[in-house]
Amino acid sequence: MIRLLLVACFGLGLATLGPGVAHAEGEAVVGTLKTSKSGPIDGVKVTVETPDGKEIGTAETDADGKWSVDVPGPGQYVVTINSDDLPDGISLSGSDSRTVTVEPGRRQPVSIGLEDGSRGSGGGNVRAVQLLVDGLRFGLLIAMCAVGLSLIFGTTGLTNFAHGELVTIGAVAAWYINVQGGVPLIPAALLAMVVGAAAGALNELGLWRPLRRRGTGLIAALVVSIGLSLLLRYLIQIVYGGFSNPYAQYQSQRAVDYGLFTLTNRALVSIIISVVVLVLVALMLQRTKMGKAMRAVADNRDLAASSGIDVNRVILVVWMMGGALAALGGVLLGLSDQVQWDMGFRLLLLMFAGVTLGGLGTAYGALVGSLVVGVFVQTSTLVIPDDVKYVGGLLLLIVILVIRPQGILGSRARIG
């Protein structure tokens, strides 16, 4: 029997609750009963009690399926709906009651799961498909940012801890151009890619090339990249501020239903852009002269130099490409999660996880590894809470190092 769990719920836009709903200051429990097939369900009786069974109040859902009950103060409350009031074909997916904790001054949303028997193959599986798609989107995004990180490591040996800041710079540049400058997001994103490429070139020309010429060791260079990361990250916080801001467009999109999963158009476009860009990068690496030179330098720098490849020029192009890709990744991340001053640094650790999983220094390894990490992080929320999902990704990194330190596509020789 194909069924679908549809969650009836959420006091999301609390201020926009329908008529008849109290807006008084103070604590309340609120919610909405609806399924995608039946729409809002009205006339269902909702009872709120204290944990020891004392009734606080009752309400009936209105024409929009919304209900609200004021409670005397913060604390625990048991919310029960009368399942006999549900229309035919709609049943409870779990218990008819929930215990919630109301914080001081908060209108606590309560969700009670309903099934309308429409589609899907059981609630858990559909949620898994949804998370898989989200994970693919996230993994592609990590991959786009991480390709540069991996190629820079491959061509110069530098473990660049400041790569996350290239992501942030891209996202923040696009935000300034889009929100402050009033330019539509798509040209703003292209401009941000130019800024990212310039930032990458500046990195190489202003810092890393002179350091290579001085003969700075790789460990020293690694610590320098940490210093650069701190410097840039906190400078961005000073200039941009500590808040998270959305872009001006594509924010209030409804998720489109694709059967087994739903997706906003911006998430769909994000997936398409990532795939197209990554395929282009792969084609470039495989077919063009510059791409072949990059792989040659990553494979054996001295041999590449002696066969007439201008290594410094190749490294400069790698930096610019890495910067532009990271910037684009930053814009897409800002589109889904808003723009924040430390977004790049938080992504950096997942990039490292992806790059290590795929094999440090290989471009395709970064792609495969990042996809695995993205999917793993998202689907892990099936079993672990949402706010510790990154921890799962970092745990995965450690487990990989125990089992296969060279990564999926890496070679044994690189791990020392």
Partner: protein
């Protein structure tokens, strides 16, 4: 001029207070790992966090004795070091770097998560676990005392006294260890791991010992910090602090017994002085509000640390006290 003297006094107090002790202990631990053994531990703050929370959780949640909490914190640091070292110490240096920084960030996210709130207090953290420590103070902790032109509460003075004794003991331990055969082996590992292996030493074991020892010293630092602030909050343990300790170590001189101590005092002095001076300049209107506001000053500290770290590594990797030949670091 009075402002300048004020800023100077505030900075002096910072260079002697529990924060300097915290960073000195973190840096001493890193010195054992990075300075002498060549291990890149970028997650030192995680050791401080398990140390601080070891006390906080034991006392407030489990109702144990303060000193049992100290033991639990130290034990947790040992376990963490073993967990980190087991998969990574056989691999090249940058793997340890990535894993440790990832662990530090992951642990912080875990400690501040909603699911961990019943144990760690979540984003609000835990407080009021240090009364047993202050009960031991030989003077009244509520009184105020004047030291070197700066004013201290009795409690601050007691934390600082115990803290500096701990710093001295840790430095003494490091001094004794690096003069011993053990110290010669770990320094040789830093210089040439394969040569040490060829001489029949178990490199893995020595690296692990250095990682555990450094981690335990870091955990003690975290305890001083938790007791000094009177609270243990996950977000106090941002991983930028690890790099502040690195900056202190490299400024003072890596692979020198007193390098991290001198470095921590100097770094804290500079940061606090810059902080106070900037705030004064902003409130006097010398720096216009449009350029920099008082809320931005807290971030300036890490900008300075990042800049300092880069400049030091490029131009003077041996710092104040170091020996250039000992810090020619290379990947392995």
């Amino acid at each position: 001029m009075a402002d300048l003297i004020d800023a100077f006094a505030v900075a002096l107090k910072a260079a002697l207070g529990f924060q300097a002790i915290f960073f000195a202990l973190l840096a001493i631990g890193i010195n054992v790992q990075f300075g002498y053994t060549g291990l890149l531990n970028f997650g030192q703050i995680a050791f401080a966090m398990v140390g601080g929370f070891g006390i906080a959780i034991s006392v407030t949640q489990w109702g144990l004795n303060f000193w049992v909490g100290v033991l639990i914190g130290l034990l947790a640091a040992v376990v963490l070091a073993l967990l980190l070292g087991l998969p990574t110490l056989r691999l090249r240096a940058d793997y340890l770097a990535i894993v440790t920084i990832a662990t530090a960030e992951g642990l912080r996210l875990l400690f501040r998560s909603v699911s961990a709130t019943p144990v760690t207090g979540g984003t609000r953290g835990l407080a009021s676990f240090n009364s047993q420590f202050f009960a031991l103070a030989p003077w009244a902790t509520s009184g105020r005392y004047s030291v070197l032109g700066t004013t201290w509460s009795g409690a601050q003075l007691w934390v600082a006294t115990v803290g500096w004794v701990l710093v001295a003991l840790a430095s003494l331990l490091v001094w004794a260890l690096v003069r011993s055969p053990w110290g010669r082996v770990v320094k040789s590992i830093r210089e040439d791991e394969d040569a040490v292996r060829a001489l029949g030493k178990n490199v893995y074991l020595y690296k692990m010992q250095a990682l555990v020892l450094g981690g335990v010293i870091g955990a003690i630092g975290g305890m001083v910090y938790a007791v000094g602030t009177g609270s243990a909050i996950p977000d106090q343990y941002q991983n930028a602090n690890t790099f502040l300790a690195y900056a202190a170590l490299i400024l003072g001189g890596a692979a020198r017994v007193l390098g991290p101590v001198v470095g921590a005092m100097v770094v804290l002095f500079i940061l606090q002085f810059a902080d106070t001076a900037l705030r004064t300049l902003i409130s006097n209107g010398v720096i216009p509000e449009g350029l920099l506001t008082a809320t931005d000053v807290a971030q300036i500290r890490f900008v300075l640390v990042g800049l300092g770290l880069m400049l030091l590594l490029v131009f003077r990797p041996q710092g104040i006290l170091g020996d250039r030949r000992e810090v020619m670091l290379d990947a392995r």
